[in-house]
């Protein structure tokens, strides 16, 4: 049973006097089989939560704990977290010149699975995964994310999700910048991942309710001013759709 447990997480950005607290005590538990949506206005700290879980060096955890199946995630390096079963689909995947998609995928799969996949099988697996996401096979030879459109980048994030098969996937505004067709393709990929293995959990970070038409959350959390200010079931998303975040923004100001 995969369980990601976040307790009283405080995270700052910057050093010394310039340090600014962004997360102010986040509590959240994502269990296997569950899909959680974190929704909130821009600047509320949603993405910081995602990056802090993944271990981005820009963010400093000042207190609190994050565990995956009881293991202390905060003690792990970025790559150890990924190998332990955490995955972050990034809002803005970076371009890495000269590193081809196929080389990258192979290195990542080798690292996460602990052994190099057989070339033939790996080629087949990659092709099938790319087909499912309507990714042109020619992308395998291109530099990672270089010159990709916003939608292509997001598809590649989900391609990695499906191939790396983490225990818990954190999806940071994967829906942003996607047209309806791309949103469907990407959502289907996320559902394939989640439905294909009951041992997996999903933490979906989004500003808009649009993606929740395709991915049904079990829990919806409203994020404002660096913490979760309200939680509920899928019906909470409908309320947000109609009323927006205004009352949460004002409440904390």
């Amino acid at each position: 049973m995969a369980t990601l447990e976040i307790r009283d997480l405080h995270v700052s950005v910057g050093d010394g006097e310039d340090a600014k607290e962004i997360l102010r005590g986040v509590d959240l538990t994502v269990k296997a089989g569950e899909t959680h949506a974190i929704m909130g206005p821009n600047g509320s700290g949603k993405s910081t939560l995602a990056y802090a879980i993944a271990g981005h060096p820009k963010y400093t955890v000042t207190s609190g704990t994050v565990t995956l199946d009881g293991e202390d995630v905060l003690e792990m390096s970025v790559d150890e977290r990924a190998r332990a079963g955490l995955f972050l689909a990034m809002q803005y995947p970076v371009e890495v010149p000269g590193v081809s998609v196929s080389n990258f995928l192979r290195s990542a799969v080798t690292a996460v699975r602990g052994e190099a996949p057989k070339l033939r099988e790996f080629a087949k697996e990659t092709k099938a995964a790319m087909d499912a996401l309507s990714i042109d096979p020619a992308f395998a030879q291109r530099s990672l994310n270089e010159g990709f459109s916003g939608g292509e980048k997001k598809r590649h994030e989900i391609l990695q999700l499906e191939m790396l098969k983490p225990k818990v996937a954190v999806l940071d505004e994967t829906d942003s910048g996607l047209d309806v067709d791309a949103l469907k393709v990407v959502s289907e990929g996320i559902n394939r991942f989640h439905d294909g293995d009951p041992e997996t959990g999903v933490l979906l970070i989004t500003h808009y309710t649009r993606i929740l038409r395709y991915i049904k959350p079990d829990f919806v959390h409203v994020f404002a001013h660096g913490r979760i200010v309200e939680q509920g079931g899928p019906e909470l998303a409908d309320v947000l759709e109609n009323e927006g975040y205004e009352k949460y923004v004002k409440a904390g100001a």
Partner: protein, 379 residues
């Protein structure tokens, strides 16, 4: 100062076959200020003892003429004039020269390989190479430099009308070698020239590739890859002189540096003269600093003397490995050290993969791997 009194280019105005026409450099001159003169073993001031030995071996496919000629051969020195004192010293001092001729309309079936091997670095050696492509000829020339030497040489590439020459020069010297080289290409009408300089070994390597256009339509692409280790000085000084209309040039040099006193110098001079309307040029230098203690001097100079250019630009950037690149790869489970290698390999690899000769390309890739493999304690 009005337009009328504007000087012609201030870059590289001087040229002479006479050593005495060049002052002994002191290190304060613009063209010498980055070079560690004391480590040149006297190549720059006439004190070098010409007792060194650099062996030359040449392999060429059928149909291509390779000759070893004396100093008086009239084909030598036609395409270039030495631009600095060491180049003039090499011109004054070489005993025999290599002339490679690709006859008119001949397409070489395999690369011409010129191997230089230095026997020892206690005395200086001088060389001269002239490569002539007659009109419509096509060839690839590979120059390799290995072993220990104090070596100064000039290499002339005469690329005839509509001819196409690709050159790969590999500076893979032993740790004690000193190499100062001028590589000059002169392009005829619609001629094409591609050059790759790969500098990895040696104590001091200073290569000055330059391009001149005799007729319109010339196209030059100059690429360079270098990997500088602790204590090494690797310097590349490029000059592209657009003197005729409608020519194109591209320069892309990339290097990685690691460990104490690794020093990379890149000078990229491009001149677009008043007559050179319709010039299309872009030059780029990027350096990846892998550790503390290194130094990069990167100086692009673009001098434009006409308003009618098709395109002109330059860029230079030196920096550490991008944390965001490493984070992205690590976030997919790839350990830090491997992520670092992937980024460096990718950064240099974009130029390495342009090398058309597979064997050389693989050697260069392997040499980069070897550099990345060096455990810190051995560096």
């Amino acid at each position: 100062m009005g337009l009328d009194t504007r000087p012609l280019s201030t870059l590289h105005e001087k040229g002479s076959y006479e050593v005495a026409d060049f002052e002994v450099p002191t290190g304060r001159e613009e063209e010498w200020r980055f070079t560690p003169l004391r480590r040149l073993k006297g190549l720059h001031n006439g004190t070098a003892d010409a007792s060194g030995k650099v062996i030359t071996e040449i392999e060429a496919p059928a149909g291509i003429r390779v000759e070893t000629v004396g100093r008086d051969d009239e084909r030598l020195g036609k395409a270039f004039v030495p631009a600095d004192r060491v180049s003039a010293q090499a011109w004054a001092s070489f005993a025999e020269a290599t002339v490679v001729t690709v006859p008119k309309e001949v397409e070489a079936s395999a690369p011409v390989v010129i191997r230089r091997h230095g026997e020892d670095a206690s005395g200086a050696a001088y060389g001269h190479t002239t490569v002539v492509l007659e009109p419509f000829a096509k060839a690839t020339v590979v120059l390799t430099h290995r072993g220990s030497a104090v070596f100064a040489d000039n290499v002339e590439f005469v690329v005839g009308d509509s001819a196409s020459l690709s050159v790969i020069s590999l500076q893979d010297w032993a740790d004690d070698a000193v190499h100062v080289s001028q590589q000059h290409a002169r392009l005829g009408r619609d001629a094409r020239f591609v050059s790759h300089n790969i500098s990895i070994g040696g104590d001091v390597v200073r290569v000055s590739p330059s391009v001149a256009y005799a007729q319109p339509g010339g196209d030059a692409e100059l690429y360079g890859v270098y990997f500088v280790d602790g204590g090494q000085h690797l310097e590349h000084r490029l000059l592209v002189d657009h003197t005729v209309p409608s020519c194109r040039s591209r320069v892309d040099y990339r290097g990685a540096l690691q460990d104490q006193d690794a020093h990379a110098v890149w000078i990229g001079d491009v001149i677009i003269r008043a007559e050179a309307e319709g010039t299309d040029t872009y030059e780029l230098n990027r350096n990846l600093v892998l550790t503390d203690g290194t130094r990069v001097d990167s100086v692009p100079n673009l001098e434009i003397l006409t308003g009618e250019v098709a395109g002109a630009g330059h860029a230079s950037a030196s920096g550490r490995l991008d944390d965001e690149h490493l984070f992205y790869l690590q976030a997919r489970g790839i350990p830090f050290d491997e992520a670092r290698r992937m980024v460096v390999r990718g950064f240099l690899g974009q130029l390495v993969e342009r090398i058309e000769v597979a064997e050389v390309r693989e050697k260069v890739a392997a040499a980069i791997e070897a550099e990345l493999d060096r455990p810190e304690r051995d560096r």
